[in-house]
Symmetry: C2
Subunit: 450 residues, 2 copies
């Protein structure tokens, strides 16, 4: 057996531990090549897709992109390299020297010594056309190819960065010293189970969050709904009031956004410049102001006094509609606004009874933001056994939720939590009108393109 | 409107930006209290659940746990605080002074000045019993309460840390200087879409990964299967061989594990001491050795020569069964082993044809590990249009996979990827026998406890 093991090990061409990845020519991503400080004629290898070809008498210019950055790397080659196959969309591997660029457009460029066509691209059949700026609606027809455009490339890089920002808001890396404003220093659990299950966890770990896909069979074709979307949910034990929750929500929005802005500057700029002009100022306005707070009752008063004619007449006890949310945000000067204390009758059994009257409310909170309306929803949860028992009994749910009642029998604590729709968050910060453009593969009613 | 906004803002009791969370007594997590360096009689507040009560003549000792660490905080109180309600499982808030402990068992303890019962716990009805070590099977009946035990607390904190470790392997925080061995410096995309969709993304971003829930309607009650499990998947463009992929897999396993071991020392120790004795050495053995590589053909030869009698006779062209996987790992000295180049007929249409003979294989790879068997599965993907077209035609899938063929028409690149079952990974490093014990809410056939 031992002999066999030695034999087997000999089959390995490369041990895993200190195996240098950079053998003959160092393989570099476009991003790393662009960011190279010293260009002492080092031989490198860059792989990617051709974004542009410009052929001059004696020189050939290519731009190579591999998705690692918005900017492409300029390759300068002898015109003898010119070939029909070096076309927009083709994949190539270029070896050469990274040198300082004489042009002011870029710091470095790659002086090609070898160009290898990896995969051809038939320009006629390729739905993306050279030098054309395709509208987002057009690109939606090609979910398998659209991420090779600047627009979707930028949006999806931002999505990736925002994912990381949210994780790091809740659970700062243990290698970094935890600054005080970071609220969550305990476990993160990814689960699709949703809020009631998250309450189980917060009943043992105090502060928990989850970030993952959520499924809703909503028969909606709106620009704000998807059948599969991503949700960030947090649940916190020992909270005393909605204030506590709102502080975390505002902190999450602002901290994650600042991180995205500083780590994806170019990509955000592209969105703010070409897709949603004016969004830069609108976002700054949201970030520099404290979010506002009004009660549901005040919200209805404001809507009743409005000069605008609504399709749905605003009335106490009835849910707010999109037109109402829009009006309220505008009324608040386009600053995100928390609406709190909703009618008990409108909300699910687990929300905490405010024990007020005559208009009976629960400690629920929604955050309305410009452009998309409801972004966050949350509440204090009913932690008092007898209150919850009565609410469950009234809905005939007592038996099914015995386990949920148990949480109130054995060391119950006041707690609350919230959820944020991730795609709506991206829409909000980038000013992207349609939710289908901020997720790689949108799934919605009557659609299964991919 | 402007007036209204000012009015609204006045409603806020606390602005969000520089609002000190620590008002009268600083609220501390148990972990932070235990780690406090200076104990200059600072007044603090700690909230959590009572893990033990010991009443002496003049002093009362409590241990408080809030899930932030395995260790609990010792509270020392005057015996006048003693009360029936201060029972195992109750939730409390304790205010007092953090002082140096005279005992060697802990550095600090909390001298209580005020103890508030937040929620009672009826000891008779509570399924967790004081000072008892409950078997994992017993705890499985109480998915809503079991995370309040030491065992599940530790396992789930490790799960959380392993999640973070995997994210940081693929996408190191941009605030930290990226060490060279970190392979993935480009976007991360969370999606449930799975491998074919991940190929779309790697065709634009070169290196991508996803980490999230996956659903399988497997009618299995085994200790290695769940209907909902978590999967890490990676897809890499411009790979040249299975070697490239195997290096990333081995790197992921080893790097993530090292991070978990160094960040969750106590929690891992608990598992290795009480749940799986001997596992510490077994894990070290896996970490310090290079993983092995054998071909499927060699594997079948080894099995055929085995003195062991298998229920399923090993034969070329037939899938490996659990009993075979176990034998192979043992044969390899309990070092994880990559099995490569499986029969074409056994594998899905997208795996790359090795064009060999007479025994026709594809460039597939599985990683077998001690205890759980198959942990990773991966392959090079067929990037050649005509090969793929023929395979699709043979399965009558050409029309449905036109989009997938498109990826080979427009700038195709050699690429490959793999998936790792996250729960099996946790089983493997911790030595946990049943997969239901490493996920907060296990979903499996004929079960819907929660």
């Amino acid at each position: 057996m031992f002999g066999a093991r030695c034999l087997l090990r000999a089959l390995r061409s490369c041990t895993s531990a200190p195996c240098p990845r950079h053998k003959p020519s160092a393989r570099l991503s476009v991003r790393d090549a662009l960011g190279a400080r010293s260009t002492n004629g080092e031989r490198v290898k860059v792989q990617g897709w051709i974004r542009s070809v410009r052929s001059q008498k004696e020189v050939l210019f290519l731009h190579i992109n591999d998705g690692s950055s918005l900017e492409s790397l300029q390759v300068v080659a002898d015109s003898s390299f010119d070939s029909r196959e070096l076309a927009f969309g083709s994949s190539v591997e270029v070896q050469g020297q990274l040198v300082k660029s004489p042009s002011k457009k870029q710091n470095v460029e790659l002086k090609a010594e070898k160009i290898e066509i990896v995969g051809n691209c038939d320009a006629k059949a390729f739905p993306l056309k050279y030098k054309e700026r395709h509208p987002l609606e057009y690109l939606r027809q090609y979910p398998h190819l659209r991420c090779r455009t600047n627009a979707l490339g930028s949006i999806l890089r931002i999505r990736s960065e925002a994912t990381a920002a949210i994780h790091s808001f809740f659970k700062p890396s243990s290698k970094i010293k935890v600054p005080e404003e970071n609220f969550f220093n305990v476990p993160a659990f990814l689960t699709v189970s949703g809020q009631l299950h998250l309450e189980v966890m917060s009943g043992a770990f105090t502060q928990v969050f989850t970030f993952g896909p959520t499924f809703r069979a909503e028969n909606s074709q709106s620009r704000r709904h998807l059948a599969e979307f991503y949700m960030v949910e947090a649940e916190i034990s020992f909270v005393e009031s909605l204030q506590d929750l709102m502080q975390v929500m505002e902190g999450l929005f602002k901290t994650a956004t600042m991180m995205v802005l500083s780590n994806c500057t170019e990509d955000v700029e592209l969105c703010h410049k070409f897709i949603a002009p004016g969004q830069k100022d609108r976002l700054e306005h949201m970030l520099k102001n404290n979010f506002l707070i009004i009660s549901y009752t005040e919200a209805v008063e404001i809507l009743k006094k409005a000069s605008q004619n609504f399709t749905f007449t605003p009335e106490w006890g009835v849910d707010l509609h999109t037109e109402h949310e829009k009006y309220l945000v505008k009324h608040c000067g386009n600053i995100p606004v928390f609406v709190i204390n909703y009618p008990l009758a409108l909300k699910p059994f687990y929300m905490r009874d405010n024990e007020d009257g005559p208009q009976h409310t629960v400690a629920a909170v929604d955050l309305l933001v410009p452009g998309v309306g409801e972004l966050f929803g949350g509440s204090l949860r009913e932690e008092r056994y007898h209150f919850l028992e009565q609410r469950l009994a009234r809905s005939g749910l007592t038996e099914a939720y015995q386990w949920y009642l148990d949480l109130r029998r054995f060391g119950s604590v006041p707690h609350g939590g919230f959820g944020m729709g991730f795609e709506r968050y991206l829409q909000c910060i980038l000013g992207i009108d349609n939710i289908k453009d901020v997720i790689p593969f949108p799934r919605f009613t009557h659609s299964c393109v991919l």
